[in-house]
Every structure is written in C-alpha cells, then in structure tokens.
C-alpha cells in the first residue's frame, strides 16, 4: 500500500486525468449534426411579377428547456418593412447605409396556423413588442398552444403564409428579377430557461434562432432555371406544370435558410478541400459585369475556410454559396446566412485593393462565428461581428498583406500608394466613437448606427487583437479553439468566452474585459516629457572627513554623461499594462513594464548616455490606444517631416488656386 502522501498525490493526479478525460469527452460530444430543436419543411412558390412568395411550412419544434411552454413566439421579420411605424423604420429614421429607404413595402401574412392535433392557432395570435412596447411593430407574433409542451416534447405546427418582398434595401427583397429571400418565413424564437428569447427586428440588430434541419422546395419561373442558390445542397431539380421549375434544398444542423435567384447569375463552381477542415463545394453566383473577378471571390472564400478552420475547427457543411447582388441591390450584400453568403463588389475593383476579398472573407468567416458558434446577435452582437472582424483581419493579413487606400472618382476606383494595415488601420473608425457607448450593450441600445458599427465591429476586433498581442498568437489560438470546441452548435455568451480565456491561459482575464467590453472608457497613453541634459555637478554642503563643507567631493565634482527624465502619463480612463522604451545614444535601450494603473510614471537616469527618444507601447500592442501620435517623444526636434509636408501643402494649394481660377 502506498504511503499516505503518495496516496494523496495519486488521488489528485487521478482526479486531474479524469477531469481532463471528461472534458475531452464533453468537447467531442457535440458532433455534427446537432440534435435539432427547430426543423422546417417548407414548400414555396415565387411569383416574380408580384414579388411574393406563397409558402407552406411544417415546423417541428422541441422544447429543450426544463419548463413547459404554453406559447410559441415567431419572428415575422419582413413586417419590419410593412410601414413607417415599425420599430425598424423608426429606429433607422427611414435610412440605411446607402441613403433613404425606398417606399417599397414588405410583409409576412399568416393565413393558416394549425397545431399537430389540427387545432387552429391563428385566433390566439397576437403581436408582441418585448423590446420597446411599440404597438405598431409586427415583427414578433405569439400564439397560445392548446396545451403546454412538456420539457423534451416535440410538436409540429403547420403554417401557410404569403411573404411580400420589398425592393431590396436592407438584406431581403428584390431588384428587377433578382430575389434575395432572407428572413422570409415565420421563424420560431428561442425558448430559454428564463423564457422566450424572441426580439423585434431593430435597425441595428441581426438574428438568433435554434439549430434544426431544413428541407425546402422552391418553385420558380423557368427563366430562373439553373439560377437559384440556397442554404444547403440541391437534392432535386424538376420541371413542374406551366413551365416552372422546382428546386429542393436540404441541410442539417443550421439555424436559418436563405435562397436567391437571378436570371443574370453566371455560375462558377470550385472545390475547397483541406484535411482537418473539410471538403466543400463552392458555388459562386456572379453578376455578368463581374465575371473577371470570379477567381478573386473563390480564392478569398478558400482562404477564409482555411484560415478560420485552422483556428476554430472543421467546416462541417458540404456547400458554400457566394452571391453577388446586382447593381442597385447593395443592401442585400455583405451578409451571412448558413452556407450562403452575399458578398458584393464594384465593376471598378483594382487588383491591389481588397474588395471583394475583404467582404468575402468576412462573410465566409461568419459560417464559423454565427453559423456554427451561434451566439445571440440581438443581445451580444460583438460575439459574432466583432470576433469575426478580428479573424477577418488575421486572414486578410496572412493571405494578402496590407490593403490600399482607394480614391473613388465618379464611380471609378483608383488605388493610392497608402497602406491600410490590418487591424490597426482597418478599424480606425472606432476612435471617433470610442466613448459613445459601452460595447457590451444590446444591439438596439446604441446611440446610432455609426456607434454600433464602430464599437461592435471595430472595438471588439481591436480588443481581441490587443489580447492576442498580450498573450501571444499561439496562446490566443488555444483560447479560440477551446471556445469553439465547447460551443459549436450551441449558444455561447460573453461569459463563456471569458471562461475559455481563463481555462486556456490559466489566468483570470476578467479585469481585461471589464475595462474593454464592459466599459466606454478610452485608452490613451502618452509620453509627456523626455529630457536629457548634461549632468551637472551637485552643489551644497557635503560631508567630508566627518565634517560638512561646501562643494561636492572629488568623486562627484566632475560628473559625466546626461541626466534623463521621462514622464509617461495615462490620459485615458482605462488602465492597461504597458511597456516603456527608452532609446539612448550609442544604440543602448532600456525597456520597462508599467501596470498603467496610476495617472503617470516617471523614469530617471543619472549620468547616463543621452536620451534620443522615449516611447510608450513601442510594439503597438495596445491597439485600443486612441492616439498613437503622442506615444513617443524625441528629446530634440526633427523638423524634416513637418517641413516636407508644409512644402507639399503649399504646392498643392498653388495648384488648387490655379484650378479654381481656370474655369471663369
């Protein structure tokens, strides 16, 4: 028998091994496809003239909570475009990123809703507005069930509906014969332990739903033959009566279904294959005037699948469809849906500029961050958009290097010789809105769209990039992989991510997220003082041979070198650990770490070499620092840059004066 001490140690070791084994099992328990909660079988018919979709769906829904459910809540997203009194319209002030929303209306009309026992559910349907109480908003409907659904029980609900598509301005709609059917069918919300999580459609929100299996049949006019793309794999194509075509698509393990059609699409196909990540067919639906950019789209999609997959794990789906919306339908572009993305490009797309690459990589990346790791886009939009922005910058930098500034001239784009670095420059819009809102806010609680975009996308990306620089890239990758492995096909929250950081690094990083995600404070460190003067002999009374006498002792009377003083200040509200670098004459340097908590820190060097410059955060780890121009200070002026730019400015003012006096 083992001695007491060795028995304790063995027991402890055994516990660790068991825990690790259990964790490994837990990590592998969520195999693909996940157990479905909300599955749909939909049959629909597109009326290209009226821009309507008549559909019948059978929802198979499982109560995955521990509480009985006596109601069902549905998203009716298209009702956001039904009139100007909807919450979406009110919050957006009738504008989108391209200007005013058109006077073109959309809606979802439910014509019949019956339960699995045939009970008519429609009479009990009422619209609810859980977020803002807007009585005119019709984007969430609630029906009362004849009897509660027990925990674990599965029910079926049949719904007949007609979706009226608006002229596309925000994601869903039509333009000419182009159709993007997104958020087009009545979709059940997410039932959680605390009740229904089914938010209204807001100007700045996206979506949230449960995983399930989709089987969708789409009846389209013959003019759209071969020009239909959708979530999942196409399993059937056949002609129906009256010259129409029926397409059937199926996909397991997704939480949404989107489809598109356009007689103008030019179809390209390719294959992505990488061991450990997946094997997927790429289907590119491109506008005719962009066919020269086909290879760019496909390369970007492959780079994204590889770049994200190596960090976040396999891509489990058999297809990825990339849609290029036509001119005038920009609102449909730049969006993600399970196994289908909308990109978007311009006819004038210089090869050195990362468009369409950036949007293709970003939306493909959403397959992982949103599609597989299905966080709540209403309540914690940064978990998909911000995280994805961070990963997009990494993949773009690895694949293409820096981006280039573009000068748009009457619709044509010309690259300038100015680099846009990832992520420091691509997320610079954050700095203008740095203190406008707390990042960790529900998507509809931001001051405006620009604040939402700057914080959710850019601040999150910069925060994660800062974390990466503090941890190191290999450790950051371990964090992301642990997070992904734990939460694939599930609904994580920010706390779950913070826990993954803690578990992967063995350190508590809550303080970091408290100061970044949960704060609207700004980060700004500056070098306020950097002086280096010849050392001077001290003056006064000094002890010599036990007596005070005037003048310094011989050892101090002839000082050599320079006395240096450097003061670094924290101008921002948020303290973060930071490094300080002092660079001296002769190539010597001194690097110090400061916890950044106090308002200032002073460094003194006596009788040393002359200081040339002092820098705070010399390696630019703190990407959240809102002003890098004050991060360094020289001891002596170097007027060359200012003089050169003054000369340039005067020269171009001369040219501008000549140009402006030319025409009259």
């Amino acid at each position: 028998m083992l001695p007491q001490k060795r028995r304790s140690a063995t027991r402890a070791l055994g516990s660790c091994v068991a825990a690790a084994f259990a964790s490994a099992l837990a990590l592998r328990a969520d195999s693909f496809p996940p157990p479905p909660i909300a599955s749909y079988q939909i049959t629909c018919r597109l009326d290209l003239e009226k821009k309507t979709i008549e559909g019948s769906e059978v929802l198979t829904w499982r109560n995955a909570t521990s509480l009985p459910a006596d109601t069902l809540r549905f998203h009716l997203y298209l009702n956001a475009f039904s009139n100007t009194r909807s919450t979406f319209w009110r919050e957006s002030n009738g504008e989108n990123r391209d200007g005013s929303l058109p006077d073109s209306w959309g809606a979802v009309e439910i014509q019949r809703m019956t339960g699995s026992d045939g009970a008519d559910l429609l009479p009990s349907m009422r619209y609810v507005s859980p977020d803002d109480g807007n009585p005119d908003d019709r984007t969430v409907a609630e029906v009362v069930l004849p009897r509660p659904v027990r925990p674990g029980e599965t029910i079926s609900v049949a719904v007949d509906f007609v979706s009226r598509l608006p002229r596309v301005s925000v994601r869903s709609g039509y333009k000419g014969d182009f159709v993007l059917a997104a958020q087009w069918f009545p979709k059940v919300g997410v039932l959680q332990e605390k009740g229904w999580n089914c938010h209204q459609y807001h100007a700045t929100s996206e979506f949230f739903s449960d995983f399930g299996d989709y089987d969708v049949s789409i009846d389209v006019p013959a003019v759209l033959r071969g020009k239909v793309g959708a979530t999942g794999s196409r399993t059937e194509e056949r002609e129906t009566s009256m010259g129409r075509v029926l397409y059937r698509f199926r996909q397991q393990g997704v939480h949404d279904f989107t489809w598109t059609a356009d007689p103008s699409f030019v179809v390209f196909r390719d294959t992505f294959r990488e061991a450990g990540i997946g094997d997927a067919e790429l289907i590119l639906l491109l506008q005719p005037e962009h066919v020269s950019q086909a290879e760019r789209h496909l390369r970007a999609a492959k780079a994204a699948l590889a770049g994200y997959g190596r960090v976040l794990g396999p891509y489990p789906y058999a297809t990825l469809t990339i849609v290029d919306p036509p001119w005038g339908a920009n609102g449909a572009g730049g969006m993600e849906y399970p196994t289908l993305i909308t990109a978007g490009t311009r006819w004038s797309a210089p090869s050195h500029v990362q468009r369409p690459e950036s949007v293709t990589v970003h939306e493909t990346g959403h397959q992982f961050l949103y599609g597989i790791i299905a966080s709540n886009e209403f309540e914690e939009a940064w978990l998909d958009e911000g995280f994805n922005s961070y990963m997009t910058d990494r993949v773009l930098q690895q694949t293409y290097g820096s981006d280039r500034v573009v000068l748009p001239v009457f619709g044509l784009n010309f690259p300038l010789g100015i680099d846009i670095r990832h992520p420091a420059d691509t997320n610079r819009r954050y700095y203008e809105r740095a203190d406008w809102d707390v990042l960790a806010s529900e998507s509809w609680r931001f001051r405006d769209r620009s604040s939402y975009g700057s914080l959710i996308y850019s601040k999150t990306a910069l925060t994660l990039a800062t974390l990466e620089r503090l941890l190191g890239t290999p450790e950051m990758d371990r964090v992301l992989r642990l997070y992904s492995d734990r939460w694939r096909f599930r609904h994580p929250t920010t706390s779950d991510f913070i826990a993954a950081v803690r578990d992967a690094t063995g350190q508590d990083w809550q303080w970091f997220f408290d100061r970044t995600f949960y704060s609207s404070g700004i980060v700004d460190y500056a070098v306020e003082q950097a002086e280096s003067a010849p050392a001077r002999a001290p003056r006064g009374l000094f002890e010599k041979d036990g007596k005070l006498s005037a003048g310094p002792p011989p050892s101090l009377s002839k000082p050599r070198g320079y006395d240096t003083v450097v003061t670094v200040v924290r101008r921002g509200d948020v303290p973060l650990p930071v490094e300080v670098l002092l660079r001296f004459e002769g190539g010597r340097t001194h690097r110090a770490r400061w916890d950044g908590e106090a308002r200032w820190k002073r460094y003194r060097v006596a009788s040393g070499p002359r200081l040339i410059e002092a820098m705070v955060d010399p390696d630019e780890k703190l990407l959240l620092d809102v002003d890098r121009t004050n991060n360094g200070r020289r001891t002596e002026d170097d007027e060359r840059a200012a003089s050169r730019w003054t000369v340039r400015a005067v020269f171009w003012v001369q040219n501008m004066i000549d140009f402006l006096t030319f025409a009259w």
């Binding site: 100015i418 002003d627 200070r633 840059a641 004066i657």
Partner: protein, 340 residues
C-alpha cells in the same frame, strides 16, 4: 471680299506659346501671385505640423511613407484643423457632388483654403487684365502688366463674377440636380457600367457648359482689351460673337491648353519627386522642382490666353499702334479685328 478663314487652333496655340515664352515675366507675375496667395496657409500649416511632428517618432514613418493611420488620427484629434474639407473634396469627385449647405462644415485650414480660392478669383481678374493688356503691346514689362491690370480690373471683376456665378449655377443646376433627379432611376439600371455611363454623361454636360462659360468669358476679355475704341456694350457683344463665330478654333485652343497642362501633371505624378522621402530629394531641390512645375504650368496658361488673343484679334488695335509718322514702313490697310 475674300473670306479670311483665319489660323487653325494649333497655330494659334503655338503662336500663343511663342509669345508666352518671349514674355516670361508674365508667367513670373502669375507665379508670384499664386505663391503669395498660397503663402497664406504656410504659417498655420507649418505651425500645426511642427507641433505635431517635430518630437514625434511617428514622423519618421511619415517621411518614408504616407501614414493612413496618422492622417485619420489627425482628423479625429484635431477636427477643427480641416473640418469636413477632405470629405467635401471626395464628394466633389463623386456622382452626387457637393451641396452648398455642406460648406458650413469647413473649419481651420480647410476654410482658409476655400476663402483663399475666392480671393484668388478676385486677384485673377486683375492678373488677366494685366496679362492680356501686356500681350497686346509690342514691348511691355511688368509695369505694363500692373498698369493694365489695374485699368481693366473693374470690368474684369464683373466678367469674372458673372462667369463664376454661371459656373456655380451650372454645377448646382445641371450636375447636382440631375444627380438627384436621376438617383432612383440610376439605381434601377441593370449594371453599374450603365450607371457610370450616366455619370459620365452628366459630367460631360457639365464640362461642356463650363467650357462654354470659360470661352465666352475669355473671348469677352480678349476683345475688351483689343477694342477700346468700341463702347462697352459693343465690346461685350463683339467678344461673345468672336467666340460664337469661331467655335472650333477657340475650343481647340482650350483643348490644347488642357492637354498640355494634363501632360505636365502626368509627368509630375510619374516622376513623383515627393516620393521616397529624403532618400530621393532633399528639401531645397524639391521646392525648386515644384516651383519649376508651377512656372511651366503658368507658361502654358499665358500661352493659352495669347493663343485666344491670336484667334480673336490678329492685328494690334489702334490704341497700340506706335508707328511714328514719316518713318519706317507704312502700315498696311487691313481690318483691326478679324471678322468672320
């Protein structure tokens, strides 16, 4: 009566360039004027940049390569420096154009530059009077330039402001308004190429109108100086008629002027002496190169006006005939102004 077809546009332009080269002080005068105007921004720009860059290590990167991040930070940290001037400049090059209400966002150096442009228009009226007057005299100097400039300034100010107003009206009424009117239709076009083509047509219409305004204004100025014997209204009408009567010739001269100037800019951008920071050009040679460029550009400008004068008036007006009685060859009896 033999119909005199007159010289072609190229001949007029080349003759104009010859006269410009023979009177380089005219280009020097214009260069001085533009330099003095531009000098207004030297102090504010210089002080701001020195304060921002002299002690900043970021300046080293700026010297080597333009730094996008620094530019964005500058705009954010010092919003009053430029205001919305960069955005307006970008919108000027967009299919939508600029609306006058947006000018209220100009600040600091941006507002200074805009005010400078208006001042330049006024000074330009003086300079044109001096230029055209000096071109008319067989022997002239900077004194002639100054005298003629002051003499013509009241009338030329009227012409300049009238042309300026017409140009602004054309921009707002033709370009901007057509953009607004066509906005929804353009978005319904099938392709972006079609949309760009619509923009190009709008732009072409604007350029055509601006060219017409400029040619009419310049023709009036030329004849105003050339025909002091006529009453003002007649001079004005003769000027208009001069341009209307020789449309291809004056348009050709303008086109040659634009082409020559554009070529100069292309050469400058290709050579790009500002690039590479200090590795390629030290500051003094850079300044010299820039001012030589400006001088050459102004030589072409003077050549244009001389060419217009050639096209619209071929012989000196009676006021400038200094032939002494009884000496030298007799002056041929030919019309003072080339009548189409």
């Amino acid at each position: 009566m033999v119909k005199n077809r007159g010289p072609r546009a190229l001949v007029c332009f080349l003759r104009g360039m010859g006269r410009s080269l023979s009177k380089p002080y005219l280009a020097v005068a214009l260069w001085l004027i533009q330099l003095l105007l531009a000098a207004v921004v030297i102090l504010p720009v210089s002080n701001t940049l020195h304060a921002l860059l002299d002690r900043s290590p970021a300046a080293d990167r700026m010297v080597a390569n333009p730094d996008f991040g620094w530019w964005e930070t500058l705009r954010r940290v010092h919003p009053d420096l430029l205001g919305n001037f960069p955005d307006l400049a970008q919108r000027l090059l967009s299919p939508d154009g600029i609306r006058w209400s947006e000018l209220s966002g100009l600040r600091g150096i941006g507002a200074t530059a805009f005010s400078l442009a208006l001042l330049a228009v006024v000074v330009h009226a003086f300079a044109l009077g001096g230029l055209l007057g000096a071109l008319r005299e067989p022997s002239s100097s900077l004194v002639t330039f100054g005298r003629e400039g002051m003499r013509r300034m009241p009338a030329f100010l009227v012409f300049t402001f009238a042309a300026l107003g017409a140009a602004f009206a054309a921009y707002a009424g033709v370009y901007v308004r057509s953009g607004v009117a066509l906005h929804d239709r353009v978005r319904e076009l099938d392709t972006e190429q079609a949309a760009i083509a619509v923009t190009a047509l709008r732009l072409l219409a604007l350029v055509a109108i601006l060219s017409l305004i400029k040619l009419l204004a310049d023709a009036v100025r030329v004849v105003w100086v050339a025909r002091p014997d006529l009453p003002p209204v007649s001079r004005f009408l003769f000027g208009l008629g001069g341009a209307v009567g020789r449309p291809l010739r004056v348009l050709g001269i303008l086109a040659l002027d634009v082409l020559a100037t554009a070529l100069l800019y292309v050469i400058w951008l290709l050579l790009d002496p500002s690039a590479g920071g200090e590795a390629r050009f030290a500051l003094v040679p850079l300044i010299l190169a820039q001012q030589v460029f400006v001088f050459l550009r102004l030589l072409i400008k003077v050549g244009y006006y001389a060419g217009m004068s050639e096209a619209l008036t071929r012989a000196p007006s009676p006021e400038y005939s200094y032939v002494a009685s009884g000496s030298g060859p007799s002056v041929a009896d030919e019309p003072a102004v080339d009548r189409a």
